[in-house]
């Protein structure tokens, strides 16, 4: 479907890449551009085939013009076939939120998605600790060695180069770090449950799906998008082991996982 979004004349974009998704952010507001540069500097990347994302001051989105649109408070986004527009973005937090939503739509046909999860690297593989707010993601991250945390809040999982991999994102929680622009093959997914003992239990496909879905960032009600998401999640479940991790608020859970 051809995009009917227009292509404005603007200055040099901020080029970034998150999860191997190259984006060119055209930000007309100088102050916001500076803040974005600082926020996403770790993810700066040059690419000739990036998706252009134009920030416009006026919120004038008419739903249905593009392939995907979403309204978030005073701001909104519209995604066309080869261009995206953000409207009404006044600060970096709104930019951050719209970037997450945009990525969920762009990643879906590329066998990827965003997950409420911390990702920690150990021996060259990523361990994914998933859970909603308060489950212990930041606790797990804080109990892991310095420099090993890809993200403490929003993980990007994508089937890439023949295997499922976890990518660092600039979307952080309590750590408030800049993020780590690296990716690693996924060792396993652990759904966090705080308990008095450290142990983990394997889960069935249905149990994993039930645990996984509430942690997935997803903003579409479209039938094809729902179908694509289910395909992607079932592929992940088939290829990557997943467990329920009962853990105390101590680093001892690593001994259980490593055993």
């Amino acid at each position: 479907m051809a995009s009917r979004l227009t292509w404005p004349q603007t200055g040099r974009p901020l080029r970034i890449s998150i999860g191997h998704v190259p984006l060119s952010l055209f930000i007309p507001q100088e102050e916001l551009q500076k803040r974005a540069l600082k926020r996403y500097q770790e993810f700066a990347a040059e690419s000739n085939v990036s998706l252009p994302v134009f920030l416009r001051a006026k919120n004038s989105v008419r739903r249905g013009r593009g392939e995907f649109s979403y309204v978030l408070d005073d701001a909104s986004l519209e995604l066309g076939a080869s261009i995206a527009e953000f409207h009404g973005v006044r600060h970096e937090y709104a930019l951050d939120s719209l970037l997450r939503i945009l990525l969920t739509a762009v990643l879906l046909p590329r066998h990827g998605f965003l997950l409420h999860a911390a990702s920690v690297v150990r021996d060259g593989r990523a361990y994914i600790f998933a859970g909603r707010s308060g489950a212990g993601k930041s606790t797990v991250a804080s109990l892991s060695p310095a420099g090993s945390v890809l993200t403490d809040e929003i993980s990007l999982l994508r089937h890439s180069d023949g295997r499922w991999q976890a990518f660092g994102t600039p979307f952080w929680g309590e750590f408030r770090a800049a993020g780590m622009n690296r990716h690693f093959p996924i060792a396993g997914i652990y759904f966090l449950t705080q308990d008095r003992h450290d142990r983990f239990e394997p889960l069935s496909t249905k149990q994993i799906l039930r645990a996984l879905l509430p942690c997935v960032l997803f903003f579409s009600s479209d039938r094809l998008a729902n179908e694509a998401l289910l395909c992607t999640l079932l592929d992940l479940i088939e290829r990557v082991p997943a467990y329920r991790l009962h853990f105390r608020r101590s680093s001892d859970f690593w001994r259980v996982i490593a055993a």
């Binding site: 069935s204 496909t205 249905k206 799906l209 039930r210 879905l213 509430p214 997935v216 997803f218 579409s220 009600s221 479209d222 039938r223 998008a225 729902n226 179908e227 998401l229 289910l230 999640l233 079932l234």
Partner: protein, 93 residues
């Protein structure tokens, strides 16, 4: 006027370990259907009436027509309440 139940076309579903599993990402819900509900779900194509679905259930599970009608009506109500089924009115004369 005839009512024919139809699967909510927005939802994605699979048969996993012998059960129908339906996902509704918009509200993060995963629905699992037992054997009877799964058959009702599969038969709810927007073309078959409740009576026709009940006849299939009666034959499949070897129960009386009255019992099947009662169970299917109840199941369809439950599935509709969970927004898994919608009605197609007037699909058949």
């Amino acid at each position: 006027m005839t009512t024919c139940p139809m699967r909510n076309p927005q939802l994605a579903w699979r048969e996993i370990d012998g059960e129908i599993v339906i996902i509704s990402p918009e509200d993060s819900q995963v629905h699992e259907l037992n054997e009877t509900a799964a058959l009702v779900w599969k038969l709810a194509d927007g073309a078959q009436t409740v009576e026709e679905i009940a006849a299939e259930i009666a034959a499949e599970f070897d129960v009386s027509s009255e019992s099947a009608q009662r169970d299917v009506a109840e199941l369809i109500t439950q599935l509709a309440e969970r927004q898994l089924l919608t009605d197609v009115v007037g699909a058949k004369a």
